[in-house]
Symmetry: C2
Subunit: 481 residues, 2 copies
C-alpha cells in the first residue's frame, strides 16, 4: 500500500519545518531524566507555578466560586470565602450566559472585554473600544490567529527580532510565510537599531519577499530588554513608512526590574504621535494572564487589542475565532480580575498587594542574583534582565568544545545545555532555539526558581561550567564575543 496521509513522509511540509526549541530536544531529554527519577529544575519555559510560585489568593477564590456557583447559596460560604470574592464571583457570573460551562461569544464575554478596555484606557490615557478586543486561550493563540490572517504564502515576510521567542518562527513556518530577521544588539543591552530594520527590509525585498508585519517583544523574550519611548517612536515611524502591521507582544508589561525604563505600550506611543500615524499604523497588541505576578499559565487566558484595523477585517477575525466557538471561560474571568484587581478599601486589597508585591520584588532580586551569577563565570557574559522572566547569557565556548559538539552531531550550545542538564538537572533552552549571530552561543533560563534555591542553582551552574571549561578549554581560542 502507498503512503497514508498521516505517515511522516506525506505530512504537510510546513508542519515538518516548524521548530520549537522551548519544548524541543532539551525538554524532551529533561522529561526522560525526570521519569528516571532525576530531579529536574525546569527553567526552559516561563512557568512560575511549576517552580513553586503561589497563585494570588483573591482571583483563585473568585474563580473557584464561579466554578461552584451553588456555594453562593450556601449559608456557610462566608467561612471559606471573603465577602468581596463572593461579590466578584456574582459580578462575573452575571456577565456570562450560563456560567463557566457555556460557550461565550467567540470574542469573549462582552463585560470582560469592557473591563479590558477600561484597563487600557487607564494605562494609556486614550479610550479603547471593547469591540476591538478579543479574548483568547493565552496570548500565543492570538498571535497565531493574526499571523494566519496576514500570511498568504512564502512571499509574505514578517520582521522578527533575533533572538526571538520561537512562537514567531514556529508560527510563520506553520503558515508557510517567511521570517525576516532583525538583530538585537547584545553589546548595546539588546537594543533595537532602526537602521538595521531598513536593511532587513531591503534584503528581504531583494529576495522577492514583501514584508507585511513586524513583531516586537517588549519587554524582550529571551533578551529581557525594555524598549524606550524614543525607540518605540522610531519603530512606529518605520512601520508607517514601510506600511507594516506592528504586532506588539507585551505579555511581560508587568515584569519590570529597573526604574529607568518603565513599560510603555506601543499603543500609547502611537496615540501620542498623533495623525497621520495614530490613525494609519495598524497595531495588534497582546497580553496574558500567564505572566506578570499572576503566572496563571495553565489557565490559558489572553487578549489582543486591534488599532486601525478596518471593520471588515475585524469581522473576518471574528469569523475565524468562531470556528473554535469560544476561548475558555474561566480564564476570561481571570483576565477580568487581572485588569480589574481589588481596590484600596476592599477586604482583600491588602492581601492582594502583599502577595503581588512579594512576587515582583522577589523576581527583581532573582534577576540580579542570576545575572551576577552568570557574570561571575569567566567565559560567560550576561546583560541584566530589565524585564520579562529570562536570563540570556552568552557562553563563550572553546574550540575544543565546538569540535566535540560537531563530533556528537550537535549544535554547540545544544551540546553545552545537554551536558548542563545531565550534570545539574537544570533544564535550559539553547540560544540556537531563539536565533543568534553566527558563531555566538547562548542559553536561556527563566529567573523563576524559588529565591532561596537560587544561590545553590547558580553555584551548581558555575561548578558545571568550570568543569566543562577545564575539560574543553585549549587556552588558545574562544568563540567570538
Amino acid at each position: 500500500m502507498g503512503l497514508k496521509a498521516l505517515d511522516y513522509e506525506s505530512l504537510n511540509e510546513n508542519v515538518k519545518k516548524v521548530q520549537y526549541a522551548v519544548r524541543g530536544e532539551l525538554y524532551l531529554r529533561a522529561s526522560e531524566l525526570q521519569k528516571e527519577g532525576k530531579k529536574i529544575i525546569f527553567t526552559n519555559v516561563g512557568n512560575p507555578h511549576a517552580l513553586g510560585q503561589k497563585p494570588l489568593s483573591f482571583p483563585r477564590q473568585v474563580v473557584a466560586l464561579c466554578q461552584a456557583p451553588f456555594l453562593l447559596d450556601d449559608p456557610n460560604v462566608g467561612m471559606l470565602f471573603p465577602a468581596d470574592a463572593i461579590a466578584k464571583a456574582k459580578h462575573y457570573l452575571t456577565m456570562t450566559s450560563g456560567g463557566l460551562g457555556a460557550y461565550s461569544d467567540s470574542r469573549g464575554i462582552p463585560g470582560v472585554r469592557k473591563e479590558v478596555a477600561e484597563f487600557i484606557e487607564r494605562r494609556d490615557g486614550y479610550p479603547s473600544d471593547p469591540e476591538l478586543i478579543f479574548l483568547t486561550d493565552g496570548a500565543s493563540k492570538g498571535v497565531m490567529q493574526i499571523l494566519n490572517c496576514i500570511i498568504r504564502g512564502e512571499g509574505d515576510g514578517v520582521l522578527v527580532p533575533v533572538p526571538q521567542y520561537p512562537l514567531y518562527s514556529a508560527t510563520i513556518s506553520l503558515f508557510g510565510g517567511s521570517l525576516v530577521p532583525y538583530y538585537l544588539e547584545e553589546g548595546a543591552n539588546w537594543g533595537l537599531d532602526v537602521n538595521d530594520l531598513h536593511q532587513s527590509v531591503a534584503q528581504a525585498r531583494s529576495k522577492g519577499i514583501t514584508v507585511r508585519a513586524m513583531v516586537i517583544i517588549n519587554p524582550g523574550n529571551p533578551t529581557g530588554q525594555c524598549l524606550s519611548e524614543a525607540n518605540l517612536r522610531e519603530i512606529l515611524r518605520f512601520c508607517f513608512q514601510e506600511n507594516l502591521v506592528l504586532l506588539g507582544d507585551e505579555v511581560y508589561q508587568q515584569n519590570i526590574y529597573q526604574d529607568e525604563r518603565p513599560f510603555i505600550s506601543a499603543r500609547k506611543v502611537l496615540m501620542d504621535m498623533g495623525p497621520p500615524l495614530s490613525n494609519e499604523v495598524q497595531l495588534v497588541s497582546f497580553h496574558t494572564v500567564s505572566k506578570g505576578y499572576w503566572g496563571e499559565c495553565g489557565q490559558r487566558g489572553g487578549y489582543f487589542e486591534m488599532t486601525n484595523i478596518p471593520p471588515r477585517t475585524v469581522d473576518e477575525i471574528y469569523k475565524i475565532s468562531s470556528i473554535s466557538l469560544s476561548p475558555n471561560v474561566p480564564a476570561q474571568i481571570f483576565m477580568g480580575l487581572m485588569v480589574n484587581p481589588p481596590k484600596p478599601g476592599d477586604i482583600s486589597y491588602d492581601q492582594f498587594v502583599r502577595e503581588s508585591k512579594g512576587i515582583l520584588e522577589s523576581l527583581r532580586r532573582r534577576a540580579r542574583i542570576m545575572t551576577d551569577g552568570f557574570n561571575s563565570c569567566r567565559n560567560v557574559v550576561c546583560n541584566f534582565t530589565e524585564g520579562a522572566m529570562y536570563s540570556f547569557p552568552q557562553i563563550r565556548l572553546p574550540r575544543k568544545a565546538i569540535e566535540a559538539a560537531k563530533k556528537a552531531g550537535k549544535v554547540p550550545d545544544v551540546f553545552y545545555c545537554l551536558k548542563l542538564l545531565e550534570a545539574t538537572g537544570i533544564s535550559t533552552v539553547p540560544g540556537s532555539g531563539f536565533g543568534q549571530k553566527e558563531g555566538v552561543f547562548h542559553l536561556r533560563t527563566t529567573i523563576l526558581p524559588a529565591e532561596e534555591d537560587m544561590p545553590a542553582i547558580m553555584a551548581s551552574f558555575k561548578k558545571f561550567n568550570d568543569e566543562f571549561m577545564e575539560q574543553y578549554e585549549d587556552y588558545r581560542s574562544y568563540s567570538r564575543m
Copy 2:
C-alpha cells in the same frame, strides 16, 4: 499609501473563504436583537448551560477545590465540600506540577491521559496507549490540528458528510484543502451509503484531487443519526481500500436517544475486524467535555486518540501542540472526571447518577417533543434525533417564498430562519450552513431548551410557520421533498 496587511483586500484568501454559519448571519442578527432587548432562544449552537442546564455538582466541586487549593488546608472545608470531592481534588493536584496555574505537558497531564486510556479500554475492550492520547482545548482544536497536518494544499481532499458540522468545511478552507462531499440520505434516516463514497472519491480524482481522509460524525451533527456496527465496518473497509485516514468525531457518544443502535466507537469496530485492517487503518477519534450530560462547553476540554499513527508523526503533532504550550489545565481535570466519574459506594455517587440520568432522560423526551412538533407542520418533515443534540427538519418552501428570498438577496432557508428569528426569537442555523442537496431546505436547532419551555417553543414555531405559509403559499409548487 498602499494596502496594509490587515486591510480586507490583502488578507489571506483562505481566511476570507471560510464560512461558519453556526455563528454566522443568523447568530449576529440574534445578538443584535438581544441587545435591543428582544428575548432570544439561542438554539444555534449546542450550548446546554446557556439554556439553563445545571452543571453536574461533583466535577464542579472538584475543580473549584483545585482552583483554590488553600481550601484543602482549611478545617471548615468539609462544611462546603463532600469528602470524595476533596479526595479527588488532591488526586488531580498531585498529577499536576504546580496546580492549575502551571502549563502542563503540551499533550496534557500524563495522569489524566492515563485515565482516558483506561476509559477507552473499558469502553472498547482493547487496551489504549496514553502516549497516543492528546488533551486539547475542546475537540474542535484537535480536529483543526490534525487537518493542519494532513492538508498540504488544494490537491488534498477530505471526505466530509453533507449535511455536516461546519467546523470541517471551515477548517478545510482555512488550510487551503478541498472538501469532498458525500451525501447522507435523508429518506433513509440520514444513513450513509458506502457506494456513494466510492463515487465521491472517483469524482474528486477526476478533478485531480487526492482524497486523504474521511470524516464521520457519529452520532451525527446536524443530522442526529447513529451509525450501526455494520455501517462502521463498511466505512473502515472503504478507508482501508482507499488508504484514507478516518477522523471519527464521536463527541456525542453519550447522547443516545434510542435503544436500537447504541454508540459503538470506530476504534472498537476496527479492532474487532482484526488484521490487516486493525493494524493498517489510520484513525483519529475525538471526544469532549462539552457534550454528553456534562455540557461543559465553556471549559474547553477535549482529547483525541490516535490509532496506527507512526511515532514520527506523533512527534510532529506533539511539536505543533507545543507551540501553544498546553491545553488549559482546569478542563483537563474535567476530562479526568468525565472518564473516571464517581463509583458506586462513593459519597457523591447517588447525586451524580441522579443528575446525569435526569439530564439524559430529559434530552430523550425533548428529542421526541421536537421531532413530533416539526412533523405536525404540514410542510415540515423531520427524522427523529437518534443521538447528538440537534433536530434538522426539512422545510418545504413554496415557490413564492423562494422568489421573495431571491428578491431579498438571501438564500431561501436563511430568509426563512431570519423571519423565524424576528417573529419568535428562536435563533436557528439555516441548512445551507451545513450543506444540503440542491433545492432542499432545512434548519438546525438544538434540542436543548428547557423541557418545560419546549411545548411553548414548538407552538411558537408552528404559529410562525403557519403564518409564513399563509403569506407565501401559492397552492401550486413546493421545493422538492
